[in-house]
């Protein structure tokens, strides 16, 4: 452990805390923030083993994945709300 630099150490702490945080939180936006923390740790570990081109590709693909997850979550929330409102007054109509 004595010949590790600063960047692999910080990235390892980010990976472990991000993995625990994704599992333990229950709100999806908190889970997405923790997933961004996990991706930060992975990019740091890729850079610390000198694969710089893969680090560029990975840091371009990371916000695409985050934006897809956020748009999907907003549409999912709208569908859930509409279903709950529709399901509440359907039995009143059937009586």
């Amino acid at each position: 452990m004595k010949n590790l630099e600063v960047l692999p150490l910080i990235s390892g702490v980010c990976c472990i805390l991000g993995g625990l945080g994704v599992v333990l939180h229950t709100n999806p936006i908190n889970k997405i923030i923790m997933l961004a923390l996990l991706e930060i740790g992975m990019i740091g570990l890729i850079v610390s083993s000198y694969y710089l081109d893969i680090a560029i590709i990975s840091s371009i693909c990371e916000p695409i994945c985050t934006i897809i997850l956020l748009l999907g979550y907003m549409k999912y929330l709208t569908t859930i709300k509409k279903k709950k409102k529709f399901g509440r007054d359907l039995p009143v109509l059937s009586k």
């Binding site: 472990i16 993995g19 997933l35 996990l38 610390s48 081109d53 994945c65 979550y73 569908t79 399901g87």
Partner: protein
């Protein structure tokens, strides 16, 4: 402990945490929360690819993973929409 061994053990730890979390984590009956838990072992697999020097496999895995999340979340929204009708 050198750098390669450190990354390898970190990848194994992420695989174990993510697999246990996807099976018996808190509030895992909601499909969106289970799908977000499954993202953790995929990053563990990416770190193990990094350890064995498979650079082309790592690049393909990261790029395909973004497209895979698009398909899965699209299927999840369509399932909710068909169940409400």
């Amino acid at each position: 402990m050198d750098l390669v061994q450190y990354i390898l053990y970190l990848g194994y730890a992420l695989l174990i945490i993510g697999t246990l979390g996807a099976i018996l984590g808190p509030k895992v009956e909601d499909p969106l929360i289970r799908f977000l838990n499954v993202e953790v072992p995929s990053i563990g697999v990416a770190l193990i690819f990094l350890t064995y020097d498979e650079d082309l496999a790592l690049m393909t895995f990261i790029a395909v993973n973004a497209i895979l999340s698009l398909i899965l979340i699209r299927a999840l929204i369509l399932k909710e929409k068909y169940e409400s009708e």
